[in-house]
């Protein structure tokens, strides 16, 4: 019966993950999963503590409640290269190692960022890792640690990229590599880096700290190339521009850049004719969490504009300040956004020494429930 259900999942036009598990020959997983489909209930259970020596993170321990079929199926989170760019050579070598020690099943990639090698027995983890690490591959984050960041392809081939996402990713991984392996924060801390407001790694929704490229000066308009776009596309941009700061008259497009809020929409519509400005940097958002204790948080503005040039000192100083503050005041299982929410954004800014600016909020408070700090009143 469970085999029949599995077979159903191998039909159809979209490539089947069940077929892939079968191709890898990971029979144990097929059985446990097939039973789950039959029972309408998972047969995996908590995994206990597993890992490699010297690290407290990077391996997700997993056991089943069907020990006769398969007792354990741990998974390794491997830090991928910036922007998930690989050579086939590198991939083949990873496959070789994974065939040797593990199930042959890979998750390309996990939703946080990691390359995930799914299904390995406890005693093989250490050796498997030691082969990987010799090739330069390391384990990613898990538990209450600094998680593997994510970066969009950015300058690799996107004309919108206003920061060097790949380089920033690389720098962050290298600087925080110990933190990635040592869970010691109140909870997980995820960083995502997007080259522009399109936010192709979804930092605004899924990163405790999102670094998103933006610009401060004028959008560049090429009136000639504009003509390559149909009138209705140009008009749509003008009509939909959220700040209503565009004008299209007599075949000429004008933008009142003072009013533009850099939403990127018009540029997306007509990338040949419109280009982001030259005064480039990033907006930094804080606090996103998918399903928090009091509901989902989307990231909000912490730093409206930061220049981001190697060696990214300002960014690193900021991250240090944030983590130090959070380590001190955060509660267990509380993401940094929730800590800020609990303590109060104003007090948080005071504590970490960031100047409050109106860009941080949609609008000022409607309630009179604020605080005066020592020294502010007689």
């Amino acid at each position: 019966m469970s085999e029949e259900i599995l077979k159903e999942l191998e039909k159809g036009k979209w490539p089947s993950y069940v077929t892939e598990i079968r191709k890898a020959g990971y029979e144990g997983l097929l059985k446990v999963y097939g039973k789950a489909l039959e029972d309408k209930m998972t047969h995996f259970i908590h995994g206990g503590m597993v890992g490699v020596k010297g690290y407290d993170a990077g391996v997700i321990g997993r056991m089943t409640d069907m020990p006769d079929v398969m007792k354990t199926s741990h998974l390794l989170r491997v830090i991928p290269p910036a922007g998930w760019f690989y050579t086939t050579e590198a991939l083949r070598k990873i496959c070789d190692i994974w065939d040797k020690y593990g199930s042959g099943v890979i998750n390309f990639h996990g939703a946080t960022a990691n390359l995930q090698l799914v299904g390995i027995e406890t005693e093989k983890i250490e050796d498997c890792f030691n082969e990987l690490v010799k090739l330069g591959w390391d384990l990613g984050g898990s538990g209450p640690d600094f998680r593997t960041p994510a970066a969009c392809l950015g300058p690799a081939y996107c004309e919108f990229a206003m920061i060097d996402t790949l380089d920033i990713y690389h720098e962050i991984v290298m600087s925080y590599i110990e933190d990635i392996h040592l869970p010691m924060h109140p909870y997980k801390f995820k960083v995502k880096i997007s080259g522009c407001p399109n936010d192709c790694v979804a930092g605004a929704a899924r990163a405790d700290l999102a670094i998103i490229g933006t610009w401060r000066d004028n959008i560049k308009i090429d009136q000639e190339k504009l003509k390559e776009y149909p009138e209705e596309v140009i008009k749509m941009a003008v009509e939909r521009c959220p700040t209503q700061c565009m004008k299209y008259e007599n075949g000429k497009l004008e933008i009142n850049d003072e009013e533009c809020n850099k939403c990127m929409y018009c540029i997306n519509l007509m990338p040949k004719a419109l280009r982001v400005g030259d005064d480039r940097g990033a907006t930094i958002l804080i606090g996103a969490r998918a399903r928090g204790r009091i509901g989902s948080f989307l990231g909000w503005v912490l730093i409206p504009f930061m220049k981001l040039e190697k060696p990214y000192k300002e960014l690193k100083d900021l991250m240090k300040k944030l983590l130090d503050w959070w380590d001190e005041v955060g509660n267990p299982k509380e993401r940094i956004g929730e800590t800020i929410y609990r303590i109060g954004m104003g007090k948080f800014l005071r504590d970490v020494g960031i100047e409050p600016v109106p860009q941080m909020i949609y609008r000022p408070r409607a309630n009179p429930f604020w605080y005066y700090w020592p020294g502010e009143v007689e």
């Binding site: 259900i5 159809g12 979209w14 490539p15 993950y17 892939e20 598990i21 890898a24 789950a36 489909l37 029972d39 309408k40 998972t42 995996f44 259970i45 997993r62 199926s73 830090i79 922007g83 998930w84 760019f85 050579t87 086939t88 050579e89 590198a90 991939l91 496959c95 099943v105 890979i106 998750n107 990639h109 799914v118 890792f129 030691n130 690490v133 330069g136 300058p155 690799a156 081939y157 996107c158 004309e159 790949l166 380089d167 991984v173 590599i177 110990e178 399109n198 979804a202 929704a205 899924r206 998103i212 749509m236 959220p242 939403c263 929409y265 997306n268 040949k272 399903r291 009091i294 509901g295």
Partner: protein, 361 residues
Amino acid sequence: MVEETPWGLRNVGVPHYEQFLHPVIKKNYGKWAYHEHVKPGVIKHVAESGDVLYTIRVGLPKYVSTQTVRELCDIADKYSQGYIKFTSRHSATFFATDEETVDKIIQEVESKGFPVGGTDHSLKSIINCVGWTHCHTAATDSPSIAKALYEALYDYFKSYDKLPERLKIAVSGCLNMCGATHASDIAIIGVHRKAPRVIDEDVKAFCSVPALVKICPKYAIRPKKGDPRSVEIDEEKCMYCGICYGECPGLPIHDPKNDGVSIWVGGKVPSTKKGPMNSRLVIPYLPNNPPHWPEVVDAVKKIVDFYVKYAEPDERLGETIERIGWEKFFKLTGIPFTDKHIDDYVFSYMEFRKGVTFKHT
């Protein structure tokens, strides 16, 4: 920093990205002029130097075997100079520098069973977590739901002009939302609907009572009266989030009879236009019905049909609904509105409709 420890190398970090970049990318790094959508799955990037790079987007299954990886590598070796990229939605990207090669890649990739598509106004790769294939907290099975939806919406992945804008679907097996669901055009999320059971011996053996008492967002867990090394759960307060089970194997929350699937719509991430939006509840519960998930597929199709019919050009699903109003959305789709839809938690007040303006549907 890299350490040579008694157990071997540690903290090496990650190989430098430069070695993984295609020569055209390396040459034109940061100097791209514009891009164009050539056909479904294919984007043409033009550099300021005049160089051209075509990217070909390929849909992957949730898991890939090493054997398949090697096959894909073969193709990349043949046409993409041995370079390949994966995307933030877990698609694969092949590279070409001329249209002929593009077509060859498409043909060869598709002949292996991997669809090319998912660019521009299309269904994107469906992010989905591991669900029952690997996770202990799953209330539903994300991979098979994603598969069923891919089958139902396959043409939308393969085309790039049948939808008003992009359509991002994501599936999470439980409220932890690993499947990147909470800001998706359509999100499918597994739900429990009953409080966890308490297995006293397991709680005592594996769990910290004070930690459990603190961890429950609804303060529904308290030390058990008369047996304070275990806990009891106030079923009136518990809202089935499963956070406690994530911490403590002694509080199993799975319940094949009552677990199931919820559907949420209208989220988006980018800052374009009105900016990021959360997905919102539209169907609180559908039964778990693998492998073909007919109820879920029907509901999603109904929502996609609504989108195709009512969206203005270039509108994301959530933008359409916000423009016409949620009261109309419920009317036009015929999806029943219930007390579950009305927020009753911390920020609920912000969602209540102030003033007297709405549509009398």
